[in-house]
């Protein structure tokens, strides 16, 4: 579904993504793991068409990233990205106008589930409430690939369960999810495969079952082992 070969993205002398080669299969949930600055968000933005890579290739269903991939991929950034005048209703209308696979009724249900209101102005929301609204927008699309960048950041414990439950509910039907997070223990039970990224390169990847069985540890303990030497 999504394939990248020797992907590189440099900002001046710093390589945010450094020779990344990955393949994502349809119908699976992937955890993209790594500390801050490891290249997870940069990779997702390249796949979403927001960043042009320095070199290498990235294809979505054998097509270069462009209008076709954007029509079938959802990307939820960590940052708030709405116009200052927008309410959640305005954001929903925007998505409905540009994404044919956007389900307004599902969006309204998710907004309600997350304790938000369609009339609320997004710019006046807390970071946690904005995060919930962004997830609602992303999950309301029936896109083939859904990339969620740190979806659980700033979310309270109860809402995290709601979000993870929603992801499980809307996964399947050959939908692929790529979720980046530091909250490894929360993701461990729901993801099929884990990809560990360090300094813009894949250091470890595989099915969760295989990785944990081989290491004899949980995914969380494996995460600590892999990134033990990373400066925070």
């Amino acid at each position: 579904m999504l394939q990248c070969n020797h992907l590189v993205k440099k900002y001046r002398s710093l390589a945010a993504v450094n020779d990344l080669t990955l393949q994502f299969e349809p119908g699976k949930i992937y955890a993209l793991l790594g500390p801050n600055g490891s290249g997870k968000s940069t990779f997702m933005k390249i796949a979403a068409g927001l960043i042009h890579p320095t070199s290498g290739s990235i294809l979505f269903e054998n097509q270069p990233i462009g209008s076709y991939s954007k029509a079938h991929c959802t990307y939820m950034p960590t940052e708030a990205y709405f116009y200052s005048y927008m309410t959640w209703k305005d954001a929903g209308n925007y998505y409905r106008d540009f994404f044919p696979d956007f389900q307004m009724d599902r969006y309204e249900t998710l907004i309600d589930t997350f304790g938000l209101s369609m009339k609320q102005k997004i710019s006046k929301m807390s970071s946690g409430m904005t995060a919930k609204g962004k997830i609602a927008l992303a999950l309301a699309r029936d896109s083939r690939l859904c990339m969620l960048d740190e979806p659980l950041n700033g979310i309270d414990i109860i809402a995290r369960d709601q979000i993870l439950d929603a992801i499980s509910r809307y996964a399947g039907n050959n939908r692929t999810f790529v979720i980046s997070s530091h909250l490894v223990d929360e993701l461990e039970t729901m993801v099929d495969e884990a990809i560990f990224i360090k300094n813009g390169t894949v250091v470890l990847s595989g099915t969760v079952e295989h990785l944990t069985h081989q290491a004899g540890k949980s995914l969380t303990e494996l995460y600590k082992d892999v990134y033990r030497d990373c400066v925070m």
């Binding site: 993205k9 900002y11 001046r12 933005k45 979403a48 068409g49 927001l50 960043i51 042009h52 462009g66 209008s67 076709y68 954007k70 029509a71 990307y75 950034p77 940052e79 708030a80 990205y81 709405f82 116009y83 005048y85 925007y94 106008d97 540009f98 994404f99």
Partner: protein, 256 residues
């Protein structure tokens, strides 16, 4: 593209409403001034209204440029660039919104201007005879007042086309700073130098055209438009080149 234009307009709605509110306020002041029959009040109000109308009009283009700069350098650009709309349509939607607002506002200010001049003239009936006398005098010299009007309208239109193509060049410069020059320490300076070089290049070309094509004023409006085809072609060329280059940069070099 029209959907994008709708959101472009919505982003600027409050600023536009504020501008129009100011215009309505000054128009009311002008009408009140006419009522007082005091020359000082009338001409102060008329002058202020005229100046404000000019500022109002050019504010549209200033908003367009500043909004684009702010957007491409902020996270709100994700909203547009995550959609499956091609970079060409994104650029054209912005240009179309500016053009549409420019035309609407020009029409509105034009109608308002004609009405205000008519009100002013009717307030000074003693000068109506003098205006007729000036008209007769100009006719003696072979100058028709409708030809003067045509020349003014023609100058206005060619100026607006030139100005609109300058906006397209500014869009290109802004896009350059956000794409190709993104990692450059001197991106703003390079961008400004590029704009100055582009403007200088266009001036030189206009000069070259002027050496071979002289506009004969005093003709009918359509004849004037026909005479100006090299200038029109030049400005359309600048517009097309800028839009093409902006689109290419957004497609190949974008890094938000």
């Amino acid at each position: 593209m029209l959907k994008l234009s709708k959101y472009e307009f919505r982003k600027n709605r409050n600023a536009l409403l504020l501008l129009i509110a100011g215009l309505i306020f000054l128009q009311i002041l002008y009408l009140l001034a006419l009522n007082t029959k005091d020359d000082d009040y009338i001409f102060s109000a008329a002058g202020t209204l005229f100046l404000y109308a000019l500022i109002c009009y050019f504010s549209i283009f200033i908003f367009a440029v500043t909004n684009y700069y702010r957007e491409i350098n902020s996270r709100t650009s994700y909203l547009i660039f995550m959609t499956p709309v091609s970079p060409l349509r994104i650029v054209l939607s912005k240009m179309l919104t500016v053009l549409f607002l420019g035309i609407i506002l020009a029409a509105l200010l034009g109608v308002l201007g004609v009405w205000d001049i008519h009100l002013l003239a009717s307030n000074y009936e003693e000068y109506t005879g003098m205006l007729d006398m000036i008209n007769e005098l100009l006719l003696e010299f072979g100058i028709k007042t409708d030809e003067i009007f045509s020349s003014i309208l023609f100058t206005l239109l060619t100026f607006l086309l030139s100005f609109y193509s300058t906006i397209a060049v500014i869009y290109l410069c802004i896009t350059l700073t956000a794409t190709l020059l993104q990692n450059s320490r001197f991106k703003v300076i390079v961008s400004i130098v590029f704009f100055l070089l582009a403007s200088e290049g266009r001036s030189k070309l206009e000069e070259l055209i002027g050496n071979h094509y002289v506009i004969r004023y005093g003709e009918r409006f359509l004849d004037l438009l026909f005479q100006a085809w090299p200038y029109t072609l030049l400005n359309l060329g600048v517009l097309l080149l800028s839009v093409t280059a902006t689109t290419w940069l957004l497609k190949k070099k974008l890094s938000l």
